[in-house]
């Protein structure tokens, strides 16, 4: 009968839904459009960024794993290369000592004019940054950059020659986008140690 087969379809539909809703391992990315964002999470920032693949994203798309985040730009000749080296040291340490890769590294560029996705990709290739772990972001609007810098406490200024004056702060965000720890300037041995230990603690 038509009713019986309809009921059967309904039941299997419900079972299927229950299966989908069953608890998963927390390391899987949560659907961020439905997840509640805490009041002090950086995921409250609504600015639009593009990554090195040209994909659009907001910061909340990085939810689910802790994030090491810093701000640089590709034509920076002085401290940015060192900042990246510092992060690579932490990356190596976590990998070699603890086989830990359950986090993300995000670089956000100050330079809305010159740092196109292609430029970001070329830079990542030059520095051999593993795209499985590293993401390089660039924004279309200067206000997006300004807002991120403000919440991270980074001061910066675009200079007449296209360079940027900027302070160096490396930030560890929780998987919910909250600031856990910040390193001002280059990471000392003690800072690196504190960072790696905090990261390891964030394993769900």
């Amino acid at each position: 009968m038509k009713n019986k087969s309809f009921l059967g379809a309904r039941v299997s539909q419900i079972i299927l839904c229950l299966f989908c809703l069953s608890p998963r391992r927390k390391s899987a990315a949560i659907s961020t459009s439905k997840a509640k964002i805490d009041s002090d999470s950086l995921f409250n920032l609504k600015g639009a960024w593009k990554n090195q693949k040209g994909e659009m994203s907001q910061l909340k798309s990085f939810s689910g794993k802790p994030i090491l985040i810093s701000m640089v730009y590709t034509s920076c000749a002085y401290s940015c290369p060192m900042t990246i080296t510092e992060i690579q040291k932490i990356e190596k340490k976590l990998l070699s000592e603890k086989k830990f890769t359950n986090y993300q590294i995000v670089l956000a560029s100050f330079d809305t004019e010159k740092d196109t996705p292609a430029q970001l990709k070329a830079y990542m290739k030059k520095r051999t940054l593993d795209e499985a772990l590293w993401t390089f972001l660039s924004a279309d609007k200067d206000s997006t950059v300004r807002e991120l810098a403000l919440v991270l406490g980074i001061n910066y200024k675009r200079l007449a020659d296209g360079d940027f004056s900027h302070s160096n702060i490396l930030t560890l965000l929780s998987s919910e986008g909250k600031i856990l720890f910040q390193v001002n300037g280059f990471a000392s041995e003690a800072d690196s140690k504190a960072l790696t230990e905090l990261l390891l603690k964030t394993v769900p």
């Binding site: 009041s39 002090d40 999470s41 950086l42 409250n44 920032l45 920076c76 000749a77 002085y78 401290s79 940015c80 206000s143 300004r146 807002e147 810098a149 403000l150 919440v151 406490g153 980074i154 001061n155 910066y156 200024k157 200079l159 360079d163 940027f164 004056s165 900027h166 302070s167 160096n168 001002n184 300037g185 280059f186």
Partner: protein
């Protein structure tokens, strides 16, 4: 090889910032200049204010910072002020008032005191408000809104399809007196600004449109409240000039080697020092804002 250039506030820092800190700690406030030279009230019979937008002509101001003409120059004796070119833009003639901000809060409840994100405002946010949309007793609707964070000010301006002025745009507008386009070397005008800065806190913030109107028709840039600028976090204060050989180069990158500029413009030092002390979520009793837009 690119020379590392770093931003410094020179020996003036000790002299001026100490005083600046003293002023700020004592919670100085502006009180009305009393009888304003321009008496026409900006409030209509209902008490509403029309915050018109007027055009500022293109022009230039002397930079606050001095730069070496030759980038390899190390002696600060050879640093020169530069002229910053300002393109024509449009500005609100008054700082944003409580009345205007309440209107914004009504349409954008996420910016109300009770619901604002902790990322975008600190505990003092909208301290003059009793609750969501109502001011505390004694606070005037026509007074400039204060205890607003940069994020809130920015959101307000965006709601009008405007933006916050850059530091240069603001300083450009504010360098005009009632009669002169560039009064930044006018000792009389500079003296008046410092007098305004040093008046003790009055009972309540006066209404907008009561201090003075400058040559361009913009009101109260000095004498009422400090004002947010878009790029307030673009300057760095480093250590004592005596120690600049031990400058902590870890902290910043690629900054211009600059020294503090016009020694006579002490009020400019105070503003730069004040801005350097702010964070994006700072909500301060004598800090408001106005909006501008590009042409």
């Amino acid at each position: 090889m690119k020379i590392v250039r770093c931003v410094l506030i020179e020996k003036y820092k000790e002299k001026y910032l100490g005083l600046a800190a003293l002023f700020m700690i004592s919670g100085f406030f502006y009180s009305s200049a009393g009888e304003s030279a321009n008496k026409k009230t900006p409030f209509d019979k209902k008490g509403s204010l029309k915050n018109e937008v007027i055009q500022l002509p293109a022009g230039s101001i002397q930079s606050f910072w001095l730069e070496p003409l030759d980038k390899t120059e190390k002696s600060k004796a050879n640093f020169q002020p530069t002229q910053l070119q300002i393109s024509s833009f449009e500005s609100q003639i008054y700082p944003v008032s409580n009345r205007e901000f309440i209107n914004f809060l009504n349409k954008n409840p996420e910016w109300q005191k009770e619901s604002v994100s902790k990322l975008f405002a600190d505990e003092s946010y909208l301290n003059d408000f009793k609750d969501r949309l109502n001011l505390k007793k004694g606070v005037s609707l026509g007074a400039p809104v204060t205890y607003v964070s940069w994020f809130a000010a920015n959101a307000y301006c965006e709601s009008l399809k405007m933006r916050l002025p850059t530091t240069s745009e603001w300083e450009y507008m504010a360098s005009a007196s009632e009669t002169k386009a560039d009064a930044s070397n006018d000792d009389e005008f500079l003296k008046r600004i410092l007098e305004w800065y040093s008046e003790p806190q009055g009972a309540a913030v006066p209404k907008v449109g009561t201090v003075y109107k400058n040559l361009y028709g913009v009101w109260d840039l000095h004498g009422l409240v400090w004002e947010w600028v878009e790029d307030f976090n673009s300057n760095f204060v480093t250590g004592e000039s005596r120690e600049d050989s031990s400058l902590n180069r870890n902290l910043f990158c690629g900054a211009g080697a600059l020294a503090g500029g016009n020694k006579r413009n002490y009020s400019a030092f105070m503003r730069f020092a004040f801005r350097s002390s702010l964070k994006g979520k700072s909500s301060v009793s004598n800090l408001g804002f106005r909006c501008v837009r590009s042409r």
